[in-house]
């Protein structure tokens, strides 16, 4: 048995790695245990087909906290982010709506659809920008428990109240609306162009089994506005080498600080002695001991799987059982012989270096959701597409391309269950739908990889394939994430901590949970 550690981190996803890096930098002896053959979790690049590399699951970078990039010096460890410059929404009538990073170009394009929307666009951006700034400090906060009598938590609660009051009435009111409204209704107050409203509201439905008209989705819209790159809000980028490069950079930073990483080391259970977590048992029986165990796995896997209900207080176990996952997203990765040729914008152009969003109208997205909520795959799904090889040619052989398609909705709880046939049917639906806008697509496909929520669960270990480790709905946020009274990264089991996206502030390749958990742990043990 090797030397004992201060902390064992279960899972080498980006949050586990971030947590490890911060603990190691504080002088702790840390070991990360990863079940698979490489770290990264769902932020992972892989040569799926010979010569073709994919960001297999998560595929863009935006939410990664700038303080993490700065403090862990990720660029020095190999992180290089290439900006995505546009979003193209092809329309069924052969027209398109494009959103460009260039302000004037964007305004001209919007004005082509609606002068009013072009006018409103800047105001809208300003309001969301302000909101995102208002929310920003909250991302880095361990949510206080409003029911606690602990003077420290009471002080934190008071500080939080003072902070909110300091935002002023206007911001508070705007925040309340964002928290409680649907993305579509919120956007109805601003815009009239269907494709614009749909493409914007799409960011509110990503990762959740909710439609653009479902209340609560306006907030997720904001969540996606918090993406911040080089100080510019609402900037999306692509990591050179794919999202695996993000994980690799964090892992390198952690190792440079002294953390150890073991891959192919699946944890079977958390060792609990006298109500205290003392280490873990690996599959195969090896026991590892440490002062604390930090789980980057989602709440269900951590508590109902690795810990076991018998060790948990009844009410806590009930909360974890009730924690909602309901994965609704799938991923299709295509190896292409040629670039897609969009009818609305033919040929090779800057639009292929940006995102392409199949979201022609709010009703289109809502219909896609209607099918999924009764357990069917959307017949006409929402898709968010990028072509990474356009930005980073090393992703594909010369002259060839890789295409990453995020698909919604493909419900985890599919009527009749997921089978190989259903998975391929999903792939067909995606290709058929996209081919309506880019007819050459079908003949350009060399290989196709389809990942259903069931596959995501099986491969990465995310329960029900939920990409956020649990829905980001209001009753599962902030001090309720993942359970009331246990939102500060601690758990009812002494010595066991959590650092995954199932804790505040939640998912996206953000890393905030991992950083917050490390700080909470260090503050506790000082």
């Amino acid at each position: 048995m090797s030397a004992s550690y201060d902390a064992l981190i279960i899972g080498g996803g980006h949050n586990g790695l971030v947590c490890a890096a911060y603990l190691a930098r504080a002088g702790r002896r840390v070991l990360v245990l990863e079940r698979r053959e490489r770290v990264g979790g769902a932020a992972m690049s892989e040569e799926v087909f010979p010569g073709f590399r994919f960001s297999v699951f998560s595929y863009v970078v935006s939410l990664l906290r700038p303080e993490i990039i700065r403090e862990l010096e990720l660029p020095r460890h190999g992180l290089h982010i290439l900006p995505l410059e546009s979003t193209l929404t092809p329309l069924p009538n052969g027209d398109y709506l494009a959103q460009w990073n260039d302000h004037d170009q964007n305004r001209r394009e919007l004005a082509r659809h609606s002068l009013r929307d072009a006018e409103a666009y800047d105001d809208f951006g300003l309001v969301l920008h302000q909101m995102a700034r208002a929310i920003k400090p909250i991302l880095a906060m361990a949510p206080p428990d409003p029911g606690s009598l602990d003077p420290r938590e009471l002080m934190d609660m008071l500080r939080l109240a003072r902070y909110f009051r300091g935002l002023g009435d206007k911001n508070l009111q705007a925040l309340w609306k964002l928290l409680t409204m649907s993305a579509a209704e919120y956007l109805d107050e601003w815009f009239e162009t269907e494709a614009l409203k749909a493409t914007k509201s799409a960011s509110g439905i990503i990762g959740t089994l909710l439609g653009p008209r479902s209340p609560g989705t306006a907030y997720v819209l904001l969540h996606h506005y918090m993406g911040e790159l080089d100080g510019v809000f609402r900037a999306w980028g692509f990591a050179k080498g794919g999202n695996g490069a993000v994980s690799a950079a964090i892992a390198a930073a952690a190792q440079a600080a002294g953390a150890e990483i073991r891959t192919q080391a699946p944890v079977e259970r958390v060792l609990i002695q006298g109500g205290r977590a003392t280490g873990v048992v690996l599959e195969g029986g090896e026991e590892l001991r440490a002062g604390v165990v930090v789980s980057g796995a989602d709440p269900r896997r951590t508590f109902l799987g690795l810990v076991g209900e018998q060790h948990l207080p009844g009410e806590f176990a009930e909360s974890i059982r009730r924690f909602k996952f309901r994965g609704a997203s799938a991923k299709v990765n295509l190896a292409l012989d040629a670039l897609p040729d969009f009818t609305c914008m033919p040929g090779r152009g800057p639009h292929l270096r940006g995102a392409i969003s199949v979201s022609p109208s709010v009703a289109y997205l809502e219909r896609a959701y209607d099918e999924a909520k009764y357990g069917e795959i959307s017949r006409r799904p929402y898709m968010d597409i990028v072509i990474p090889s356009m930005l980073d040619p090393s992703m594909a052989p010369a002259g060839k391309h890789v295409m990453s398609i995020f698909v919604q909705y493909a419900p985890y709880h599919l009527n009749g269950g997921w089978t190989d046939a259903r998975r391929e049917a999903l792939g067909d639906t995606v290709v058929e739908t996209l081919a309506e806008y880019a007819p050459n697509l079908k003949s350009a496909i060399l290989h196709r990889q389809v990942l259903s929520p069931a596959d995501i669960e099986r491969i990465v270990g995310l329960s029900e394939g939920n990409i956020f480790q649990g829905e980001l709905s209001l009753q599962q946020m902030f001090f309720l994430r993942p359970a009331p009274a246990w939102s500060r990264y601690r758990t009812p089991i002494e010595g066991l901590w959590q650092c995954g996206s199932g804790t505040h502030p939640g998912g996206g390749v953000m890393g905030a949970s991992g950083r917050n958990a490390a700080f909470a742990l260090l503050r506790q043990r000082r």
Partner: protein
């Protein structure tokens, strides 16, 4: 004696007028149409005292809902928890077991809501509110924080397995709301309708405030159209009636909806453009049709909402501007008369106007589900008719949809939630104001203005 004018034809207008009269003002109530007979659901004890109203009828063993089962028969939900348990047991022993605990937990939350409803809305960061919430105890508090933003479907799925039970409860959670049971925030609506009820009762008793106050002396009633609200230098000076007559008053309370009051009756030029824009965005879509006719009496309100999915599918249609093929139905009986709400029936139909055929479809649906309807024809009032008859904007009886984002401190929108408008002397007191229970906004508005003048 200073003069005040109250505008509106609902319980809130009557309550506000009589409270002002009791406070010594000379009050004229201008009602542009016949008083709406939409009954109040809950009257706070304070309002009861202030207006010397009789206590609500008790009816200890009454059944509050009779849920129609798809296979025939009914699920009878009674005020008496034990009787409900027996009825539920026939469908699901597990749910019967859970019913008493569910009732207890919901009653605790509704009591908190009741204290919030008994006064003008709290500020979101009100310390007293925080303390009150803490007093619920750890479990009550986590229930509250979890339940308020939840969907009714999630809440009910947590507790129960029986479709009929979940459907009957969820039907009231989405009543008159352009949302389905899976929409976040609808669990709050379940609690809203629980306020003022005994534990185990999720449909409030119907108290006819209008009947109690309509004939009462002390307020001058004028049945006349309203042309506009007169404003000089940012101050209200009176009201111009249809026909040209002008009434002078430095105080005007409007129980008409906020959009009509501020953007049509008042000159919107007096408003800050941002506020005017927000007022124009208050959602007030009517979603239910009302049918009236004669029927053999039933002792309890009949509810047709056999499952959560049934309600959700009915809502699906409305999202695209269609009438539900199979709407949710609630039928209330009074002697040999029946009043039926059918939801969803949107204000604007995507595929044509509200014509005779559309109305006939609703009547045929009701007749097919309620055998006790007499052969006499049903009158069908679609949302546009209700706008005309009752003055409900777009057919929405709450004036502002009672969704979570338009509730409490944000009802109908944050800048107007304290009943006061930027126009000096003009106040809002209608159903679109907090708390969205007939009569209560009238009371709170008068309370707020008396406080402001004190």
């Amino acid at each position: 004696m200073s003069a005040a004018i109250v505008l509106g034809s609902n319980a809130d207008a009557l309550v506000a007028a009589h409270l002002l009269a009791r406070a010594g003002r000379r009050v004229t109530l201008v009602h542009p149409r016949a008083f709406s007979d939409r009954p109040a659901s809950w009257v706070s004890p304070r309002l009861r005292r202030a207006l010397a109203l009789e206590a609500a009828p008790a009816g200890a063993d009454a059944t509050w809902a009779s849920a129609l089962l798809p296979a025939g028969g009914t699920l009878e939900l009674a005020q008496d928890i034990g009787r409900s348990v027996e009825a539920i047991r026939r469908l699901s022993p597990r749910d019967a077991e859970r019913w008493p605990q569910f009732c207890e937990r919901m009653a605790a939350l509704a009591r908190l809501l009741e204290t919030l409803y008994a006064e003008p809305p709290p500020a979101p960061l009100d310390l007293r509110l925080a303390l009150r919430v803490r007093r619920l105890g750890r479990r009550g508090m986590s229930d509250l924080l979890r339940v308020l933003p939840m969907s009714a479907a999630e809440l009910l799925d947590d507790w129960f397995e029986c479709d009929a039970l979940k459907g009957a409860l969820a039907a009231s959670a989405i009543a008159h709301l352009q949302q389905g049971p899976r929409s976040a925030g609808t669990a709050f609506r379940l609690l809203h309708h629980h306020v003022g009820c005994a534990p185990g009762v999720f449909r409030p008793a119907r108290i006819d405030l209008v009947a109690a106050l309509r004939e009462r002396p002390g307020v001058a009633l004028r049945a006349q159209g309203i042309e506009r609200i007169l404003i000089k230098g940012g101050r209200v000076t009176g009201v111009a009636l249809a026909g040209g007559e002008e009434l002078a008053a430095a105080l005007v309370l409007s129980a008409e909806d906020a959009r009509r009051t501020l953007l049509e009756l008042a000159d919107p030029g007096w408003l800050d453009p941002e506020l005017a824009r927000a007022v124009g965005h208050v959602r007030r879509r009517g979603v239910a049709a009302r049918l009236r006719g004669r029927a053999r009496h039933r002792p309890a309100t009949a509810v047709l909402a056999p499952s959560l999915d049934y309600l959700e599918r009915a809502y699906d249609a409305a999202k695209y501007g269609r009438m539900a093929e199979e709407p949710a139905l609630e039928a209330r009986y009074d002697g040999d008369r029946v009043e039926i709400d059918l939801q969803f029936a949107p204000y604007r139909l995507a595929d044509g106007p509200w014509d005779g055929a559309a109305r006939a479809r609703l009547a045929a649906f009701a007749a097919s589900r309620l055998p006790e309807l007499a052969d006499a024809p049903l009158s069908v009032e679609a949302p546009p008719d209700l706008e005309e008859i009752e003055g409900w904007p777009e057919g929405q009886p709450f004036h502002a949809e009672l969704a979570l984002d338009q509730s409490l401190w944000a009802r109908p929108l944050p800048a107007l939630a304290r009943y006061r408008t930027p126009i000096e002397g003009l106040w809002l007191c209608g159903p679109g104001m907090h708390p969205g229970i007939p009569g209560a906004a009238g009371e709170h508005c008068v309370q707020a203005l008396e406080r402001a003048r004190a």
